[in-house]
Assembly symmetry: C2
Protein backbone atom coordinates (compact mmCIF):
# COMPACT_ATOMS: atom_id res chain seq x y z
CA UNK A 1 0.00 0.00 0.00
CA UNK A 2 1.65 3.25 -1.12
CA UNK A 3 1.40 6.38 0.92
CA UNK A 4 0.09 8.16 -2.19
CA UNK A 5 -2.85 5.77 -2.11
CA UNK A 6 -3.39 6.40 1.58
CA UNK A 7 -3.31 10.14 0.97
CA UNK A 8 -5.86 9.90 -1.79
CA UNK A 9 -8.16 7.79 0.37
CA UNK A 10 -7.88 10.33 3.18
CA UNK A 11 -8.64 13.19 0.82
CA UNK A 12 -11.63 11.25 -0.42
CA UNK A 13 -12.86 10.60 3.11
CA UNK A 14 -12.57 14.25 4.00
CA UNK A 15 -14.31 15.55 0.89
CA UNK A 16 -17.09 13.01 0.96
CA UNK A 17 -17.90 13.13 4.66
CA UNK A 18 -17.93 16.91 4.56
CA UNK A 19 -19.96 17.31 1.42
CA UNK A 20 -22.40 14.48 2.03
CA UNK A 21 -22.50 15.13 5.78
CA UNK A 22 -23.52 18.74 5.44
CA UNK A 23 -26.18 17.92 2.88
CA UNK A 24 -27.37 15.00 4.97
CA UNK A 25 -28.05 17.28 7.91
CA UNK A 26 -29.63 19.83 5.68
CA UNK A 27 -32.01 17.51 3.86
CA UNK A 28 -32.66 14.65 6.24
CA UNK A 29 -32.13 16.04 9.73
CA UNK A 30 -34.78 18.63 9.18
CA UNK A 31 -37.77 17.95 11.36
CA UNK A 32 -36.98 14.63 12.95
CA UNK A 33 -33.97 13.27 14.87
CA UNK A 34 -32.06 10.95 12.60
CA UNK A 35 -32.48 8.02 14.98
CA UNK A 36 -36.23 8.20 14.48
CA UNK A 37 -35.89 8.80 10.77
CA UNK A 38 -33.68 5.72 10.34
CA UNK A 39 -36.12 3.60 12.28
CA UNK A 40 -39.08 4.92 10.30
CA UNK A 41 -37.21 4.06 7.14
CA UNK A 42 -36.35 0.53 8.23
CA UNK A 43 -39.93 -0.32 9.15
CA UNK A 44 -40.76 -0.30 5.45
CA UNK A 45 -44.11 -0.63 3.77
CA UNK A 46 -44.92 -4.11 5.06
CA UNK A 47 -44.38 -3.60 8.77
CA UNK A 48 -41.62 -5.27 10.75
CA UNK A 49 -41.00 -7.06 14.03
CA UNK A 50 -39.36 -4.96 16.71
CA UNK A 51 -36.63 -7.54 17.29
CA UNK A 52 -35.62 -7.52 13.64
CA UNK A 53 -35.50 -3.75 13.57
CA UNK A 54 -33.23 -3.83 16.57
CA UNK A 55 -31.02 -6.40 14.94
CA UNK A 56 -30.79 -4.62 11.62
CA UNK A 57 -29.94 -1.25 13.14
CA UNK A 58 -27.82 -2.71 15.93
CA UNK A 59 -29.58 -0.72 18.63
CA UNK A 60 -30.32 -1.27 22.29
CA UNK A 61 -33.79 -2.67 22.97
CA UNK A 62 -34.66 0.07 25.43
CA UNK A 63 -33.62 2.71 22.96
CA UNK A 64 -35.71 1.26 20.14
CA UNK A 65 -38.67 0.99 22.44
CA UNK A 66 -38.41 4.65 23.34
CA UNK A 67 -38.04 5.68 19.70
CA UNK A 68 -41.14 3.67 18.84
CA UNK A 69 -43.13 5.36 21.65
CA UNK A 70 -42.12 8.69 20.17
CA UNK A 71 -43.14 7.71 16.63
CA UNK A 72 -46.37 6.28 18.02
CA UNK A 73 -47.10 9.51 19.88
CA UNK A 74 -46.70 11.36 16.58
CA UNK A 75 -49.22 8.99 14.99
CA UNK A 76 -46.71 7.60 12.49
CA UNK A 77 -46.73 3.94 13.53
CA UNK A 78 -48.87 1.42 15.35
CA UNK A 79 -47.37 -1.38 17.43
CA UNK A 80 -49.31 -4.58 18.01
CA UNK A 81 -48.45 -8.06 19.25
CA UNK A 82 -47.39 -10.61 16.68
CA UNK A 83 -50.30 -13.01 16.02
CA UNK A 84 -48.30 -16.19 16.57
CA UNK A 85 -45.88 -15.15 19.31
CA UNK A 86 -47.36 -12.53 21.59
CA UNK A 87 -44.01 -11.62 23.11
CA UNK A 88 -42.92 -10.21 19.77
CA UNK A 89 -44.44 -6.92 18.67
CA UNK A 90 -44.95 -5.84 15.12
CA UNK A 91 -44.63 -2.23 13.98
CA UNK A 92 -46.65 -0.96 11.06
CA UNK A 93 -46.67 2.46 9.42
CA UNK A 94 -49.89 4.45 9.56
CA UNK A 95 -50.90 6.52 6.54
CA UNK A 96 -49.19 9.50 8.16
CA UNK A 97 -46.09 7.33 8.67
CA UNK A 98 -46.11 6.29 5.05
CA UNK A 99 -46.36 9.93 4.02
CA UNK A 100 -43.46 10.86 6.29
CA UNK A 101 -41.41 8.02 4.86
CA UNK A 102 -42.19 9.23 1.36
CA UNK A 103 -40.89 12.70 2.20
CA UNK A 104 -37.71 11.16 3.62
CA UNK A 105 -37.35 9.31 0.36
CA UNK A 106 -37.88 12.49 -1.63
CA UNK A 107 -35.29 14.28 0.51
CA UNK A 108 -32.76 11.54 -0.16
CA UNK A 109 -33.39 12.08 -3.85
CA UNK A 110 -32.93 15.80 -3.41
CA UNK A 111 -29.66 15.21 -1.57
CA UNK A 112 -28.40 13.00 -4.37
CA UNK A 113 -29.62 15.50 -6.93
CA UNK A 114 -27.84 18.36 -5.24
CA UNK A 115 -24.53 16.55 -5.66
CA UNK A 116 -25.14 16.19 -9.40
CA UNK A 117 -26.86 19.49 -9.92
CA UNK A 118 -23.82 21.78 -10.26
CA UNK A 119 -22.18 19.49 -12.83
CA UNK A 120 -22.64 19.32 -16.58
CA UNK A 121 -23.88 16.19 -18.36
CA UNK A 122 -20.44 14.72 -19.02
CA UNK A 123 -19.26 15.35 -15.48
CA UNK A 124 -22.39 13.79 -14.04
CA UNK A 125 -21.88 10.64 -16.03
CA UNK A 126 -18.28 10.43 -14.85
CA UNK A 127 -19.19 11.09 -11.23
CA UNK A 128 -21.89 8.44 -11.23
CA UNK A 129 -19.57 5.91 -12.85
CA UNK A 130 -16.83 6.61 -10.32
CA UNK A 131 -19.31 6.38 -7.47
CA UNK A 132 -20.48 3.01 -8.74
CA UNK A 133 -16.89 1.81 -8.79
CA UNK A 134 -16.17 3.07 -5.26
CA UNK A 135 -19.43 1.57 -4.05
CA UNK A 136 -18.60 -1.77 -5.64
CA UNK A 137 -15.08 -1.97 -4.29
CA UNK A 138 -15.94 -0.80 -0.78
CA UNK A 139 -18.70 -3.37 -0.71
CA UNK A 140 -16.35 -6.03 -2.01
CA UNK A 141 -14.07 -5.25 0.91
CA UNK A 142 -16.73 -6.21 3.44
CA UNK A 143 -17.58 -9.59 1.99
CA UNK A 144 -16.28 -12.35 4.25
CA UNK A 145 -15.51 -15.93 3.29
CA UNK A 146 -16.33 -18.40 6.06
CA UNK A 147 -15.91 -22.14 6.27
CA UNK A 148 -19.28 -23.65 7.14
CA UNK A 149 -20.94 -27.03 7.18
CA UNK A 150 -22.85 -27.64 3.91
CA UNK A 151 -25.92 -28.26 6.07
CA UNK A 152 -25.87 -24.75 7.55
CA UNK A 153 -28.95 -22.68 6.60
CA UNK A 154 -26.80 -20.15 4.74
CA UNK A 155 -25.13 -22.95 2.78
CA UNK A 156 -28.50 -24.48 1.95
CA UNK A 157 -29.82 -21.12 0.81
CA UNK A 158 -26.87 -20.74 -1.57
CA UNK A 159 -27.11 -24.28 -2.89
CA UNK A 160 -30.83 -23.97 -3.55
CA UNK A 161 -30.27 -20.67 -5.36
CA UNK A 162 -27.46 -22.29 -7.31
CA UNK A 163 -29.61 -25.19 -8.48
CA UNK A 164 -32.47 -22.88 -9.37
CA UNK A 165 -30.13 -20.79 -11.47
CA UNK A 166 -28.69 -23.84 -13.23
CA UNK A 167 -32.22 -25.00 -14.07
CA UNK A 168 -32.89 -21.65 -15.67
CA UNK A 169 -29.62 -21.26 -17.52
CA UNK A 170 -28.80 -24.72 -18.83
CA UNK A 171 -30.35 -25.34 -22.24
CA UNK A 172 -31.37 -28.80 -21.07
CA UNK A 173 -32.52 -27.72 -17.61
CA UNK A 174 -30.82 -29.22 -14.60
CA UNK A 175 -31.80 -32.18 -12.47
CA UNK A 176 -29.63 -32.59 -9.36
CA UNK A 177 -30.44 -36.31 -9.41
CA UNK A 178 -28.71 -36.84 -12.76
CA UNK A 179 -25.58 -34.87 -11.86
CA UNK A 180 -22.42 -36.27 -10.29
CA UNK A 181 -22.78 -33.95 -7.32
CA UNK A 182 -20.76 -34.62 -4.22
CA UNK A 183 -22.75 -35.60 -1.16
CA UNK A 184 -22.46 -33.30 1.81
CA UNK A 185 -19.87 -35.49 3.49
CA UNK A 186 -17.47 -34.92 0.60
CA UNK A 187 -17.47 -31.18 1.36
CA UNK A 188 -16.73 -31.40 5.08
CA UNK A 189 -13.30 -32.00 6.60
CA UNK A 190 -11.36 -34.13 6.15
CA UNK A 191 -12.82 -35.02 2.72
CA UNK A 192 -13.38 -31.43 1.64
CA UNK A 193 -14.37 -27.90 2.60
CA UNK A 194 -17.31 -25.61 2.00
CA UNK A 195 -17.13 -21.82 1.95
CA UNK A 196 -19.94 -19.29 2.20
CA UNK A 197 -19.45 -15.64 1.28
CA UNK A 198 -21.43 -13.19 3.39
CA UNK A 199 -22.24 -9.53 2.91
CA UNK A 200 -23.53 -7.78 6.07
CA UNK A 201 -24.17 -11.25 7.45
CA UNK A 202 -26.35 -12.36 4.52
CA UNK A 203 -25.12 -15.24 2.37
CA UNK A 204 -24.19 -14.12 -1.14
CA UNK A 205 -22.16 -17.01 -2.54
CA UNK A 206 -20.64 -20.39 -1.94
CA UNK A 207 -17.93 -22.71 -3.18
CA UNK A 208 -16.98 -26.25 -2.30
CA UNK A 209 -13.65 -28.05 -2.43
CA UNK A 210 -13.47 -31.84 -2.78
CA UNK A 211 -10.27 -33.45 -1.50
CA UNK A 212 -10.58 -37.08 -2.60
CA UNK A 213 -7.70 -39.16 -1.18
CA UNK A 214 -5.08 -39.85 -3.80
CA UNK A 215 -6.77 -37.74 -6.50
CA UNK A 216 -6.62 -34.08 -7.53
CA UNK A 217 -8.62 -31.56 -5.54
CA UNK A 218 -11.82 -30.42 -7.23
CA UNK A 219 -13.95 -27.29 -7.07
CA UNK A 220 -17.71 -27.85 -6.93
CA UNK A 221 -20.84 -25.74 -6.55
CA UNK A 222 -19.33 -22.33 -6.93
CA UNK A 223 -22.03 -19.69 -7.05
CA UNK A 224 -22.30 -15.93 -6.55
CA UNK A 225 -25.63 -14.19 -5.91
CA UNK A 226 -26.65 -11.76 -8.65
CA UNK A 227 -26.51 -8.77 -6.30
CA UNK A 228 -22.92 -9.64 -5.33
CA UNK A 229 -21.57 -10.00 -8.85
CA UNK A 230 -18.86 -7.75 -10.23
CA UNK A 231 -17.20 -7.64 -6.80
CA UNK A 232 -14.37 -10.00 -7.72
CA UNK A 233 -15.90 -12.66 -5.51
CA UNK A 234 -15.42 -15.51 -7.99
CA UNK A 235 -11.74 -14.73 -8.20
CA UNK A 236 -11.52 -14.56 -4.41
CA UNK A 237 -13.14 -17.97 -4.08
CA UNK A 238 -10.69 -19.46 -6.57
CA UNK A 239 -7.66 -17.95 -4.86
CA UNK A 240 -8.88 -19.08 -1.45
CA UNK A 241 -9.63 -22.61 -2.61
CA UNK A 242 -6.28 -22.88 -4.40
CA UNK A 243 -4.55 -21.90 -1.17
CA UNK A 244 -6.54 -24.43 0.81
CA UNK A 245 -5.89 -27.21 -1.68
CA UNK A 246 -2.19 -26.38 -1.51
CA UNK A 247 -2.31 -26.39 2.28
CA UNK A 248 -3.72 -29.91 2.07
CA UNK A 249 -0.71 -30.87 -0.03
CA UNK A 250 -2.52 -31.03 -3.38
CA UNK A 251 -0.69 -29.84 -6.47
CA UNK A 252 -3.52 -30.10 -8.99
CA UNK A 253 -6.92 -28.43 -8.85
CA UNK A 254 -9.73 -29.39 -11.24
CA UNK A 255 -13.21 -28.31 -12.13
CA UNK A 256 -15.86 -28.86 -14.77
CA UNK A 257 -18.50 -26.48 -16.05
CA UNK A 258 -21.41 -26.04 -18.45
CA UNK A 259 -21.10 -24.05 -21.68
CA UNK A 260 -23.95 -21.75 -20.56
CA UNK A 261 -21.82 -20.32 -17.76
CA UNK A 262 -19.75 -18.04 -19.95
CA UNK A 263 -18.71 -15.61 -17.23
CA UNK A 264 -17.36 -18.49 -15.14
CA UNK A 265 -15.46 -19.90 -18.10
CA UNK A 266 -13.85 -16.51 -18.66
CA UNK A 267 -12.95 -16.35 -15.00
CA UNK A 268 -11.27 -19.76 -15.05
CA UNK A 269 -9.18 -18.77 -18.05
CA UNK A 270 -8.15 -15.48 -16.51
CA UNK A 271 -7.20 -17.17 -13.25
CA UNK A 272 -4.74 -19.44 -14.99
CA UNK A 273 -6.84 -22.57 -15.43
CA UNK A 274 -6.10 -24.60 -18.58
CA UNK A 275 -8.83 -26.35 -20.50
CA UNK A 276 -8.20 -30.12 -20.55
CA UNK A 277 -9.98 -33.19 -21.92
CA UNK A 278 -12.90 -34.54 -19.91
CA UNK A 279 -11.72 -36.14 -16.67
CA UNK A 280 -15.19 -37.30 -15.63
CA UNK A 281 -18.52 -38.05 -17.28
CA UNK A 282 -20.61 -35.39 -15.57
CA UNK A 283 -23.60 -35.15 -17.92
CA UNK A 284 -23.97 -31.38 -17.61
CA UNK A 285 -20.30 -30.53 -18.23
CA UNK A 286 -18.94 -29.20 -21.53
CA UNK A 287 -15.60 -27.85 -20.35
CA UNK A 288 -13.00 -29.24 -17.98
CA UNK A 289 -10.20 -27.20 -16.45
CA UNK A 290 -7.18 -27.78 -14.29
CA UNK A 291 -4.45 -25.71 -12.66
CA UNK A 292 -1.23 -26.60 -10.88
CA UNK A 293 -1.26 -25.06 -7.44
CA UNK A 294 1.51 -24.38 -4.95
CA UNK A 295 1.44 -22.74 -1.57
CA UNK A 296 2.15 -19.08 -2.31
CA UNK A 297 5.42 -17.73 -0.90
CA UNK A 298 4.83 -16.01 2.44
CA UNK A 299 5.68 -12.60 1.00
CA UNK A 300 2.67 -12.70 -1.32
CA UNK A 301 0.13 -13.97 1.14
CA UNK A 302 -0.33 -10.69 2.97
Amino acid sequence: MHSAQIDQVRRFNRTVTQRVGVLHDHYLGRDRPIGEARLLWEIGGQGEDVRRLRERLGLDSGYVSRLLRSLEADGLVTVEPHPRDRRVRTVRLTDAGRAERATLDARSDELAGSLLEPLNEAQRARLVAAMAEVDRLLTAGTVTLDTVDPGHPDALYCLRSYFTELQERFETGFDPERSLLPDAGELTPPRGEFLVARLHGEPVGCAGLKLPPGAPAEIKRMWVAPRARRLGLGRRFLIELEARAARHGRTLLRLDTNKALTAAIGLYHSCGFQEVPAFNDEPYAHHWFEKRVTAPPAALQE
Copy 2:
Protein backbone atom coordinates in the same frame (compact mmCIF):
# COMPACT_ATOMS: atom_id res chain seq x y z
CA MET B 1 -30.75 13.89 -14.28
CA HIS B 2 -31.91 10.26 -14.65
CA SER B 3 -33.40 8.39 -11.76
CA ALA B 4 -30.80 5.67 -12.36
CA GLN B 5 -28.15 8.28 -11.60
CA ILE B 6 -29.99 9.38 -8.47
CA ASP B 7 -30.25 5.77 -7.33
CA GLN B 8 -26.56 5.18 -7.83
CA VAL B 9 -25.69 8.32 -5.90
CA ARG B 10 -27.95 7.22 -3.05
CA ARG B 11 -26.38 3.78 -3.01
CA PHE B 12 -22.97 5.42 -2.91
CA ASN B 13 -23.99 7.69 -0.04
CA ARG B 14 -25.29 4.77 1.96
CA THR B 15 -22.27 2.56 1.40
CA VAL B 16 -19.72 5.26 2.02
CA THR B 17 -21.29 6.84 5.07
CA GLN B 18 -21.76 3.42 6.63
CA ARG B 19 -18.36 2.03 5.85
CA VAL B 20 -16.34 5.17 6.50
CA GLY B 21 -18.56 6.21 9.41
CA VAL B 22 -18.10 2.98 11.31
CA LEU B 23 -14.35 3.02 10.78
CA HIS B 24 -14.20 6.69 11.67
CA ASP B 25 -15.72 6.00 15.08
CA HIS B 26 -13.52 3.00 15.56
CA TYR B 27 -10.22 4.66 14.72
CA LEU B 28 -10.68 8.31 15.56
CA GLY B 29 -13.32 8.40 18.27
CA ARG B 30 -11.23 6.22 20.50
CA ASP B 31 -10.01 8.15 23.48
CA ARG B 32 -11.13 11.68 22.75
CA PRO B 33 -14.48 13.18 21.75
CA ILE B 34 -14.38 14.03 18.11
CA GLY B 35 -15.08 17.72 18.77
CA GLU B 36 -11.81 17.94 20.70
CA ALA B 37 -9.99 15.86 18.12
CA ARG B 38 -11.11 18.09 15.27
CA LEU B 39 -10.04 21.17 17.17
CA LEU B 40 -6.68 19.66 18.05
CA TRP B 41 -6.21 18.87 14.39
CA GLU B 42 -7.11 22.35 13.19
CA ILE B 43 -4.68 24.06 15.57
CA GLY B 44 -1.85 22.71 13.46
CA GLY B 45 1.86 22.85 14.10
CA GLN B 46 2.15 26.64 14.05
CA GLY B 47 -0.52 27.58 16.55
CA GLU B 48 -3.68 29.46 15.64
CA ASP B 49 -5.89 32.30 16.86
CA VAL B 50 -9.04 31.20 18.65
CA ARG B 51 -11.24 33.32 16.42
CA ARG B 52 -9.89 31.70 13.27
CA LEU B 53 -10.40 28.23 14.68
CA ARG B 54 -13.98 29.15 15.43
CA GLU B 55 -14.46 30.46 11.95
CA ARG B 56 -12.90 27.48 10.21
CA LEU B 57 -14.89 24.94 12.16
CA GLY B 58 -18.04 27.02 12.29
CA LEU B 59 -18.48 26.58 16.03
CA ASP B 60 -20.00 28.64 18.81
CA SER B 61 -17.45 30.73 20.72
CA GLY B 62 -18.55 29.35 24.09
CA TYR B 63 -18.24 25.83 22.83
CA VAL B 64 -14.74 26.35 21.47
CA SER B 65 -13.70 27.99 24.69
CA ARG B 66 -14.89 24.99 26.68
CA LEU B 67 -13.14 22.56 24.33
CA LEU B 68 -9.92 24.52 24.72
CA ARG B 69 -10.22 24.43 28.53
CA SER B 70 -10.53 20.69 28.29
CA LEU B 71 -7.50 20.32 25.99
CA GLU B 72 -5.58 22.69 28.26
CA ALA B 73 -6.48 20.62 31.33
CA ASP B 74 -5.06 17.57 29.55
CA GLY B 75 -1.83 19.48 28.93
CA LEU B 76 -2.20 19.33 25.12
CA VAL B 77 -2.37 23.05 24.36
CA THR B 78 -1.42 26.40 25.83
CA VAL B 79 -3.51 29.52 25.28
CA GLU B 80 -1.93 32.95 25.50
CA PRO B 81 -2.94 36.46 24.45
CA HIS B 82 -1.99 37.58 20.97
CA PRO B 83 1.00 39.98 21.25
CA ARG B 84 -0.57 42.75 19.17
CA ASP B 85 -4.24 42.50 20.12
CA ARG B 86 -4.70 41.25 23.64
CA ARG B 87 -8.39 40.47 23.14
CA VAL B 88 -7.43 37.72 20.73
CA ARG B 89 -5.93 34.56 22.19
CA THR B 90 -3.54 32.25 20.42
CA VAL B 91 -3.55 28.49 20.92
CA ARG B 92 -0.37 26.48 20.57
CA LEU B 93 0.20 22.74 20.83
CA THR B 94 2.46 21.51 23.62
CA ASP B 95 4.78 18.58 22.94
CA ALA B 96 2.10 16.29 24.33
CA GLY B 97 -0.41 17.95 21.99
CA ARG B 98 1.86 17.42 19.03
CA ALA B 99 2.23 13.76 19.98
CA GLU B 100 -1.54 13.39 20.27
CA ARG B 101 -1.99 15.03 16.90
CA ALA B 102 0.53 12.63 15.40
CA THR B 103 -1.44 9.65 16.70
CA LEU B 104 -4.62 11.12 15.20
CA ASP B 105 -2.73 11.37 11.95
CA ALA B 106 -1.59 7.78 12.21
CA ARG B 107 -5.14 6.66 12.95
CA SER B 108 -6.39 8.44 9.85
CA ASP B 109 -3.81 6.51 7.90
CA GLU B 110 -4.97 3.29 9.51
CA LEU B 111 -8.55 4.09 8.62
CA ALA B 112 -7.60 4.68 5.01
CA GLY B 113 -5.49 1.55 5.03
CA SER B 114 -8.31 -0.57 6.37
CA LEU B 115 -10.43 0.37 3.37
CA LEU B 116 -7.71 -0.81 1.01
CA GLU B 117 -6.52 -3.73 3.08
CA PRO B 118 -9.09 -6.37 2.05
CA LEU B 119 -8.54 -5.68 -1.65
CA ASN B 120 -5.95 -7.05 -4.02
CA GLU B 121 -3.44 -4.85 -5.85
CA ALA B 122 -5.56 -4.32 -8.96
CA GLN B 123 -8.68 -3.55 -6.97
CA ARG B 124 -6.80 -1.08 -4.80
CA ALA B 125 -5.58 0.80 -7.81
CA ARG B 126 -9.10 0.95 -9.23
CA LEU B 127 -10.59 2.06 -5.92
CA VAL B 128 -8.05 4.83 -5.48
CA ALA B 129 -8.56 6.04 -9.04
CA ALA B 130 -12.34 6.07 -8.61
CA MET B 131 -12.00 7.90 -5.30
CA ALA B 132 -9.82 10.52 -6.93
CA GLU B 133 -12.48 11.03 -9.59
CA VAL B 134 -15.30 11.31 -7.05
CA ASP B 135 -13.21 13.66 -4.95
CA ARG B 136 -12.43 15.83 -7.95
CA LEU B 137 -15.99 16.05 -9.20
CA LEU B 138 -17.56 16.64 -5.80
CA THR B 139 -15.02 19.38 -5.22
CA ALA B 140 -15.73 20.83 -8.64
CA GLY B 141 -19.39 21.02 -7.67
CA THR B 142 -18.64 23.37 -4.78
CA VAL B 143 -16.62 25.89 -6.75
CA THR B 144 -18.61 29.09 -7.19
CA LEU B 145 -18.11 31.73 -9.86
CA ASP B 146 -18.77 35.24 -8.57
CA THR B 147 -18.68 38.59 -10.32
CA VAL B 148 -16.32 40.84 -8.40
CA ASP B 149 -14.55 44.13 -8.84
CA PRO B 150 -11.00 43.59 -10.18
CA GLY B 151 -9.80 45.55 -7.16
CA HIS B 152 -11.23 43.07 -4.66
CA PRO B 153 -8.53 41.32 -2.57
CA ASP B 154 -9.48 37.91 -4.01
CA ALA B 155 -9.21 39.29 -7.55
CA LEU B 156 -5.83 40.85 -6.77
CA TYR B 157 -4.61 37.58 -5.30
CA CYS B 158 -5.55 35.74 -8.49
CA LEU B 159 -4.06 38.37 -10.78
CA ARG B 160 -0.78 38.40 -8.89
CA SER B 161 -0.62 34.61 -9.01
CA TYR B 162 -1.43 34.75 -12.70
CA PHE B 163 1.39 37.18 -13.49
CA THR B 164 3.84 35.20 -11.38
CA GLU B 165 2.96 32.07 -13.28
CA LEU B 166 3.33 33.79 -16.65
CA GLN B 167 6.78 35.04 -15.62
CA GLU B 168 7.78 31.48 -14.87
CA ARG B 169 6.24 29.81 -17.88
CA PHE B 170 6.89 32.20 -20.75
CA GLU B 171 10.25 31.54 -22.40
CA THR B 172 10.84 35.27 -22.49
CA GLY B 173 9.53 35.99 -19.02
CA PHE B 174 6.61 38.35 -18.65
CA ASP B 175 6.53 42.05 -17.92
CA PRO B 176 3.02 43.40 -17.29
CA GLU B 177 4.21 46.83 -18.45
CA ARG B 178 4.93 45.61 -21.98
CA SER B 179 1.66 43.73 -22.36
CA LEU B 180 -1.56 45.13 -23.77
CA LEU B 181 -3.39 44.40 -20.55
CA PRO B 182 -6.76 46.00 -19.97
CA ASP B 183 -6.90 48.50 -17.17
CA ALA B 184 -9.20 47.65 -14.32
CA GLY B 185 -11.95 49.90 -15.68
CA GLU B 186 -12.19 47.74 -18.79
CA LEU B 187 -13.18 44.77 -16.64
CA THR B 188 -15.97 46.44 -14.68
CA PRO B 189 -19.46 47.08 -15.94
CA PRO B 190 -20.44 48.45 -18.33
CA ARG B 191 -17.12 48.00 -20.17
CA GLY B 192 -16.53 44.44 -19.01
CA GLU B 193 -16.85 41.88 -16.23
CA PHE B 194 -14.51 40.07 -13.90
CA LEU B 195 -15.17 36.65 -12.37
CA VAL B 196 -13.49 34.96 -9.43
CA ALA B 197 -13.85 31.24 -8.74
CA ARG B 198 -13.90 30.30 -5.09
CA LEU B 199 -13.51 26.95 -3.32
CA HIS B 200 -14.65 26.97 0.32
CA GLY B 201 -14.45 30.73 0.14
CA GLU B 202 -10.83 30.83 -1.03
CA PRO B 203 -10.09 32.27 -4.47
CA VAL B 204 -8.89 29.62 -6.93
CA GLY B 205 -9.21 31.25 -10.32
CA CYS B 206 -10.29 34.26 -12.30
CA ALA B 207 -11.34 35.37 -15.76
CA GLY B 208 -12.09 38.75 -17.28
CA LEU B 209 -14.37 39.75 -20.14
CA LYS B 210 -13.75 42.92 -22.12
CA LEU B 211 -16.80 44.38 -23.86
CA PRO B 212 -15.36 47.19 -26.00
CA PRO B 213 -18.17 49.18 -27.66
CA GLY B 214 -18.57 48.23 -31.31
CA ALA B 215 -15.93 45.49 -31.20
CA PRO B 216 -15.96 41.78 -30.40
CA ALA B 217 -15.95 40.71 -26.75
CA GLU B 218 -12.60 39.51 -25.51
CA ILE B 219 -11.47 37.11 -22.77
CA LYS B 220 -8.51 38.28 -20.67
CA ARG B 221 -6.58 37.07 -17.64
CA MET B 222 -8.06 33.65 -17.31
CA TRP B 223 -6.24 31.67 -14.62
CA VAL B 224 -6.88 28.59 -12.49
CA ALA B 225 -4.89 27.86 -9.32
CA PRO B 226 -2.80 24.68 -9.51
CA ARG B 227 -4.76 23.01 -6.72
CA ALA B 228 -8.04 23.62 -8.56
CA ARG B 229 -6.94 22.22 -11.91
CA ARG B 230 -8.59 19.18 -13.49
CA LEU B 231 -11.96 20.29 -12.11
CA GLY B 232 -13.29 21.55 -15.42
CA LEU B 233 -13.01 25.11 -14.18
CA GLY B 234 -11.48 26.51 -17.38
CA ARG B 235 -14.37 25.13 -19.38
CA ARG B 236 -16.83 26.57 -16.88
CA PHE B 237 -15.26 29.99 -17.17
CA LEU B 238 -15.48 29.87 -20.95
CA ILE B 239 -19.11 28.76 -20.94
CA GLU B 240 -20.01 31.42 -18.41
CA LEU B 241 -18.21 34.19 -20.29
CA GLU B 242 -19.75 33.13 -23.60
CA ALA B 243 -23.18 33.35 -22.02
CA ARG B 244 -22.43 36.77 -20.60
CA ALA B 245 -21.04 38.06 -23.87
CA ALA B 246 -24.17 36.80 -25.61
CA ARG B 247 -26.35 38.46 -22.99
CA HIS B 248 -24.60 41.72 -23.83
CA GLY B 249 -25.58 41.18 -27.45
CA ARG B 250 -22.12 40.18 -28.70
CA THR B 251 -21.87 37.51 -31.36
CA LEU B 252 -18.11 37.11 -31.50
CA LEU B 253 -15.74 36.25 -28.66
CA ARG B 254 -11.97 36.53 -29.01
CA LEU B 255 -8.86 35.75 -27.07
CA ASP B 256 -5.11 35.52 -27.51
CA THR B 257 -2.62 33.29 -25.78
CA ASN B 258 1.05 32.33 -25.47
CA LYS B 259 2.45 29.14 -26.98
CA ALA B 260 3.70 28.02 -23.54
CA LEU B 261 0.13 27.63 -22.29
CA THR B 262 -0.53 24.31 -24.01
CA ALA B 263 -3.34 23.16 -21.72
CA ALA B 264 -5.22 26.40 -22.37
CA ILE B 265 -4.74 26.07 -26.12
CA GLY B 266 -6.18 22.56 -25.97
CA LEU B 267 -9.11 23.86 -23.97
CA TYR B 268 -9.88 26.60 -26.49
CA HIS B 269 -9.89 24.07 -29.32
CA SER B 270 -12.10 21.66 -27.47
CA CYS B 271 -14.55 24.40 -26.56
CA GLY B 272 -15.11 25.29 -30.18
CA PHE B 273 -12.75 28.23 -30.61
CA GLN B 274 -11.13 28.54 -34.06
CA GLU B 275 -7.58 29.73 -34.49
CA VAL B 276 -7.51 32.96 -36.54
CA PRO B 277 -4.82 35.39 -37.74
CA ALA B 278 -3.53 37.90 -35.21
CA PHE B 279 -6.18 40.52 -34.44
CA ASN B 280 -3.89 42.56 -32.17
CA ASP B 281 -0.17 43.07 -31.62
CA GLU B 282 0.04 41.77 -28.08
CA PRO B 283 3.78 41.05 -27.77
CA TYR B 284 3.34 37.86 -25.71
CA ALA B 285 0.70 36.24 -27.94
CA HIS B 286 1.41 33.44 -30.41
CA HIS B 287 -2.12 32.20 -31.01
CA TRP B 288 -5.38 34.03 -31.57
CA PHE B 289 -8.81 32.43 -31.31
CA GLU B 290 -12.39 33.37 -31.90
CA LYS B 291 -15.80 31.81 -31.52
CA ARG B 292 -19.30 32.81 -32.62
CA VAL B 293 -21.55 32.93 -29.60
CA THR B 294 -25.30 32.97 -29.29
CA ALA B 295 -27.52 32.98 -26.24
CA PRO B 296 -28.16 29.29 -25.58
CA PRO B 297 -31.77 28.17 -25.99
CA ALA B 298 -33.57 28.19 -22.64
CA ALA B 299 -33.86 24.40 -22.62
CA LEU B 300 -30.09 24.03 -22.36
CA GLN B 301 -29.49 26.67 -19.74
CA GLU B 302 -30.87 24.65 -16.84
